[in-house]
Amino acid sequence: MTIKQKNIHEDREVSCRVLIDLIRKEEDPRKRKLYLHDFLSKSLDLRETAKLYYTLEVYREIVMPEYKDVIKQYQKKTLTPRTKIDIGIITIKNFELNAAKIALGIDFKKESDHKESGYKYWIKDINTVKGKKLKTVLTMVGKPRGINISNACRTMFNIYDIKMCILIGIAAGLESKVKIADIVVPETIYDIEGMRLEGSGAKKRPIPYNMKRSLARSIEYFDLKVIEWKEAFQNNMNKIRELYKTPDLPELFEPEIHNKIILTGEKLLADGSLELLREEHHDETRAYEMEGGGFAATCDECGIPWIVFRGISDYGDPTTKDGIGGNPHLRKIWQPIAALSAATIAILYMRNEIQQEDIVLF
């Protein structure tokens, strides 16, 4: 499967390098001023280390000669280019991070490979079934909601040169269509939060985010009936039980992958209204969560293909359906299992369907 798409604009670091060179070579002060405007507006999008490096570089071009040496002393000799990563993996909560670590084979005790702005990053190579390697980086947002995942994604994209991004986590599922630990991989995420409030009632303004068609097709080819998943699934389940008290899944449990619709919004669903939301918005709704819209929007803006893997942990109704027997104290009991189900399937998908040489992001 080849993942190809255009960027909206070129890498900002490239733009800034070009502008510094233009400022250096240009004698006309009016043009230099315009180049400086351009540089300063583009430098706002740079990662922190690059921002400092290039800003000092441009200062050296515009300050009086006696100050150049002073600046040079504080400037790094070279700027380390962003590490090239095939797939960025992002989770929201701690148990989802642990689930992803188990699925990737990262030791819980291993320190992160990098820290920036409070985020931690673990780098891990995945071996594909064709014997090639995919380089991945894993991180966690920490807090729910679209704005937080958007910030986390942007920070990650500034640090790493990422070709593709995957969100792994849990969601509330539609009880009539999905079961606990099933996985929803949405071909479309509907952000249902937007609306216009009028005296006569709310006018809905949902925003759809569509997965790239080539990726959506690759999910359709991914068939659990023909790949070896049970052993990996069982091994991972055993590991998650070392961390969390979780109930057992039925013995012959087989997770089902649903390539349908996920609704996303800013509110935590805990009133059993998912069926109503399905009637209101889209018949093919299978789940609801809180980060998909922010994630998809940020990836689209940055020109990075994305996929979401959501394990079903509950039905959005803690008083009657979620947990075990509607016991509110047990409403979160399936969360680690659901997260692990999503993570295991996501890693299996990467190993089976994505080849490193096929990921071509211009």
Partner: protein
């Protein structure tokens, strides 16, 4: 004196377009050749303008009645004033399928003939005559042909009339007249070449690595290229059809026109590598007067590599070499020069172009700018290096045609020049950006509304030529009249009744999608007033606003977003606070 009216259908257009003098001359030529000197165009007699009738595929899909209504409305206005009517259905966008469209037209014309005594004669001009024995709709016309009510003529000069009484005596001359009327093929070819800028890696046949700045993409001018190649072969070979060989590794645009030409003239056609592969297996093609066509010759390393292999495999006589584009040679068009290879080999070319090559110290490599993939742009927007390169190669000026509400920008690139040099590529990028953001870009034609300024007009013209958009160009004073929300529209209608833009705005179908185009935006006032004007004229589907640059950065505000080719915002302190007219 017989007076002749016009009914010109603009297929694939969204708005009426003024019929230019070249086309009117062409009609007069047809009249003279077919009918004699006593026939004259009504618009020339009365010194008035003629406009085409816009017709889109969705109109035709709605059925006969929609097509008939459009034609009927125009017909009613002229039928009593003319003795003969020219109905021109040959100006269609190449993507449209003529069959269903022409079917509806024939029905409409037959309805007009049946229900009206006047005019007494119809001359129907079509792109290509359908096979008489097969097309069911030609039977609709047959009766009227037999009754001398209608003559049908195509662009090749073939004619259907009663007992073949009427025909063109000189078809060759006619074809030339058609080419000149519809746009000089060579000029159109030049205009439609996409000069994609980037950082392209090249490796010569001797293994030398070097970089080039431009990739010439002729994929938008497939039709023109086909005609040019065909004419070139006919001129140089006559009836002795050669075997056509070609070589294209990255310039995939070369293949379709060559295959098309081969089919047209009945020539055999091979990729030269297929010949070499066959030789490797021991099979040899018997080639007859081979011509080898390449997309572009620069250093001649590629052609020398091919000739080396040709010699090695003992393929046969050295082919005549034709390059579509060449960076060498003195003449701009249809030139030739020699390269040294076992004596001298003559290279003929169709068009001379410039290309920037770096064998050493490539400035883009020094800046660690990634290589560009061939065939399509990596980024929707312009890169910083490309934008400022284009700006630097234009002169820098004070802004012209500044809106009254703000002061002019003191020092900016001459966008008109920038567009003149790079317009085809910029137009293509604008379409790609609209496609990306709008996603469901309508299959039906789009209207571009732009201010009547040199730069905006130039960019819009390229959008028309490259992407088939219809253009309505609005004078600045009219745009700023719509600063007032409640402007008296009747007064506007009265004042500008005969102006081209007003006729287009009034007569274009109101369900068409509109894109507003400017060369650059600062305060967003032109966009705002144009939006007001477009809505007051009854259009509801404004897709977006496009500009090369949005200096003021206001484009993302409001209901209609501005999409730019290069992100570059100047702070208000630099532009000036245009609302209060206080400037720093």
């Amino acid at each position: 004196m017989n007076t002749v009216g016009l009914l010109t259908i603009g297929f694939g257009t969204a708005a009426p377009e003024k019929i230019n003098n070249n086309i009117l001359n062409y009609y007069e030529y047809i009249l003279k050749e077919l009918m004699g000197f006593t026939y004259h165009l009504n618009c020339r007699i009365n010194n008035c303008d003629e406009y085409s009738i816009p017709l889109s595929l969705s109109d035709c899909e709605e059925g006969n009645s929609v097509v008939y209504e459009k034609i009927f409305k125009h017909f009613e206005s002229i039928k009593d004033k003319v003795d003969t009517l020219i109905v021109d259905i040959s100006t269609m966008a190449s993507s449209l399928i003529p069959g269903p469209v022409e079917f509806h037209i024939y029905w409409a014309i037959s309805a007009l003939i049946v229900s009206n005594q006047q005019p007494s004669m119809f001359i129907l001009i079509t792109k290509q005559l359908p096979p008489l024995s097969e097309a069911c709709y030609i039977h609709i016309m047959r009766t009227y042909v037999e009754n001398s009510k209608i003559i049908i003529l195509d662009e090749e000069g073939n004619c259907i009339s009663k007992n073949d009484e009427i025909s063109l005596s000189d078809k060759t001359r006619y074809r030339i007249v058609v080419s000149e009327a519809k746009g000089n093929i060579s000029n159109l070819f030049k205009i439609k070449i996409l000069r994609r800028m980037g950082h392209y890696k090249r490796i010569s046949s001797t293994g030398i690595k070097y970089c080039v700045r431009e990739f010439y993409d002729c994929s938008e001018s497939e039709y023109e290229l086909k005609i040019l190649i065909q004419n070139w072969i006919i001129k140089n070979y006559g009836d002795d059809i050669p075997d056509i060989l070609y070589h294209c590794e990255v310039s995939k645009w070369l293949e379709p026109p060559i295959i098309s030409v081969s089919k047209e003239i009945g020539a055999r056609c091979f990729h030269v590598n297929d010949i070499f592969r066959a030789c490797e297996t021991g099979f040899k093609y018997e080639l007859k007067k081979p011509i080898l066509i390449l997309p572009l010759i620069d250093s001649a390393n590629t052609i020398i590599g091919i000739l080396d292999k040709w010699k090695k495999f003992e393929v046969g006589e050295i082919p005549l070499v034709l390059s579509i584009l060449s960076t060498q040679g003195i003449k701009e068009e249809n030139g030739e020069y020699s390269i040294s290879y076992n004596g001298n080999i003559n290279i003929k070319y169709i068009l001379r172009v410039d290309r920037t090559t770096y064998y050493e110290e490539c400035p883009l490599c020094v800046l660690d700018i990634p290589y560009t993939e061939y065939g399509d742009d990596d980024n929707l927007m312009l890169t910083t290096y490309d934008f400022w390169s284009m700006a630097s190669s234009s002169e820098w000026i004070k802004e012209k045609d500044t809106p009254k509400i703000r002061r002019e920008l003191e020092y900016i690139p001459n966008f008109e020049q920038l567009i003149h040099k790079n317009g085809a590529w910029l137009a293509r990028k604008i379409k790609d950006i609209i496609n990306y953001y709008v996603e469901w870009l309508p299959a039906n034609p789009i209207i571009v509304v732009c201010p009547d300024e040199a730069g905006a007009n130039a960019l819009s013209e390229y959008l028309r030529v490259i992407d088939g958009f219809s253009i309505i160009s609005i004078p600045k004073d009219v745009i700023f009249a719509f600063e007032q929300e409640n402007i008296n529209l009747n007064q506007i209608y009265k004042t500008y009744e005969h102006e081209k833009w007003h006729i287009q705005m009034s007569n274009a179908p109101k369900n068409k999608h509109i894109v507003i185009v400017e060369e650059f935006s600062v305060s967003g006032s032109t966009k705002k007033y144009l939006m007001n004007m477009i809505r007051r004229y009854g259009f509801n589907n404004i897709l977006c606003h496009c500009a090369i640059v949005d200096f003021g950065g206001k484009g993302k505000e409001g209901s209609i977003v501005t999409y730019v080719l290069y992100e570059f915002h100047l702070k208000t302190e630099t532009i000036g606070d245009y609302k209060t007219k206080e400037y720093s």
